[in-house]
Amino acid sequence: MTGSVSVQSSVSRQGLVLGAVAYDPKVVTIWDGFRAWLRGPGGLDFDYVLYSNYERQVEDLVAGRVDVAWNSPLAWVRARRLATARGVTLTPVTMRDTDRDLRSVVAVRADSPVGSLTDLRGRTVGTGAVDSPQSTLLPLSLLRAAGLRPTARGGGADVQVRRFDIGVGLHGDHIGGERDAARALFGADPVDAACVIDSNLLLFAREGVLPSGSVRVLAQTPPYDHCTMTAGPSADDTLTKRFGELLLGMDYGDQDLRPLLDLEGLTQWLPPRLEGYAQLERAVDEAGFYDAEGTIRASDYRP
């Protein structure tokens, strides 16, 4: 449906324009704050625009309508595919310290008879939204690697997937679907397993959604990386370089920046790395979520 992305020559403009997805009202606080700092002490001609979902942001990045995009891992995967198909170059700029080496887990009730992933055959697994890398795409790939065939729509499935589609288009940034999946372990008509990211396993335990001792971690994915700052074809090289330097130079000891870094969930920006997305590339292919050219192929995905 959004497959016909046309690469247009970028509109002539000065400075660097960043795209970010407004998954929460705090995004305005964060980027207003960063904008003031980048333009003030940083001396960079910088502005930002907000998107309601990652798909439009990625399309605009590749089309040169924004210069850099604060991409989810899935947005990176699609941007890379779109860019490759169109012969356009993307430049990774930075990532957060908290974007490295995440794992997702498959959790079961502590007293569950399920002892291994293969025991889930014939059972139901709760996941987050259709486009959540951490609580849908990656853990379902883990199930496939164990020889299972999970699907939400029957048709040859041996594991029934019950998806909690909250914040579709936000690539799992909205925590609601994941929380509902965890909650479903104990609801009426409970799921047998729930897929959540490691940090949310701890968060949900502290919130009381998954009381201490109530769940057992059945399996976890290999480590993967999360968000990445990506410069597109319209970004000026010098400005992009300066932007990266400024982000990397943000000091957690700076009393003006610290509240913004806390809100954005990092203590420092790190240089980018791309090897952490291989697992998600595979998961996307297995699920038929995007094709090799970056066209959305998941029929039940309506961002």
């Binding site: 908290t98 080496d101 490691d198 940090s199 203590t267």
Partner: protein
Amino acid sequence: MRATTDLDGLGLDDGGHLLVQRALEPLPPGGRLTVTGRHPALRVHLTAWCREHGHRLAADTETSAATGSDVPVEIIKGTAGERRWHDAQRAGTAQGPPDQNADPRWGLAARGALVEAGGPPIGAEWTEREHVWADIAPRLYAAAAASQWDPATAVNWTATLDVPDEIDRAVVQLMTYLVENEQAALIIPARLLSQLHPHFREVMQLLATQAADEARHVEVFTRRGLLSGGLLGTSSAGGRASLQTLLAEPDFTTASFLLSVLGEGTFLDLLRFIHEHAPDPVTADVTRLALRDEARHVAFGVSHTAHLVTTDKSYLGVLRQSVERRHAALQDTAGLNSEVFDSLVLLAAGSWEPAAIRRGWQAVRRLQHQMDEGRRRRLAYIGFPDDEAAELSALHTRNFM
């Protein structure tokens, strides 16, 4: 530097992070902590917790896919904690005395607390010690806290009134007048309080008790006014105009000076007068209790004003101007409600007999003289020469407060 901690069966979903934090605390950034324990999700939880707090897992630990906790987890301490606190500073010393200048960036932090840099500065107007402080403030606050009384039980509300109707009307008129004065005396410390840097803790506490004192006074004077079952008395335009000039006073010290030194100072004599001539035990009780509280308010006002004048002699000029300004503003008003004055005479007279009225009149003249003497004494204590003290006392409002 290396350390170890054993969580036993405790998980990070059950408070285990406290032990981890405690063990990390003495380590420098880059120091290593080995965590052992038996909680099945220990490794998963620690991975997530460390990431969130800027720590890292040692490489061999990180790549391990084991979900259990048989293998110890090694944490490398990050810099975020140190970076957060590196430019923190103490907000003075808890025991006092308060600093000369209270930093607005300390905000609402307790005096003596270690204050993380950042956060909104407090919008307090009064941040300089000499402009709000008196060395006696801590002792006055302690006395105020120890002297709070319960209006329900401190006054014998069931005592027989047995007061002739017309004398009772005089008492009711005086109570009506006292209530409006006490309302002004409540609002002013509350307003000063809202603009005071909380670093001057004892002054803040004292002003809070002062406002609470006045709240009680409003209650007991109202209750006495209604005790005989009739309506309250009158409120004159001139009296209210006089009080309202106090509310408009923009400066901490001049507001405190006009209200507590001159106004409440004058009220000490007034309350004592009503107490002495009280025709019933309730009137005697409520004025006695209020008098005790007002004495503290006057003590702070006098001590603070004197304190500021000691550090800045020229401030006497500012104080003088505030009296003159108020006098000029009230020149065309009647000042005291004549019914209040007449009620004082009748109260002291005790009857409408001409000889009694003469006695009452003379008693009120003596009262005015005492009020003037008291003001002059306080003004002299603050630092005014005697002649100037006499001159300023004469300019004080006819409305007493």
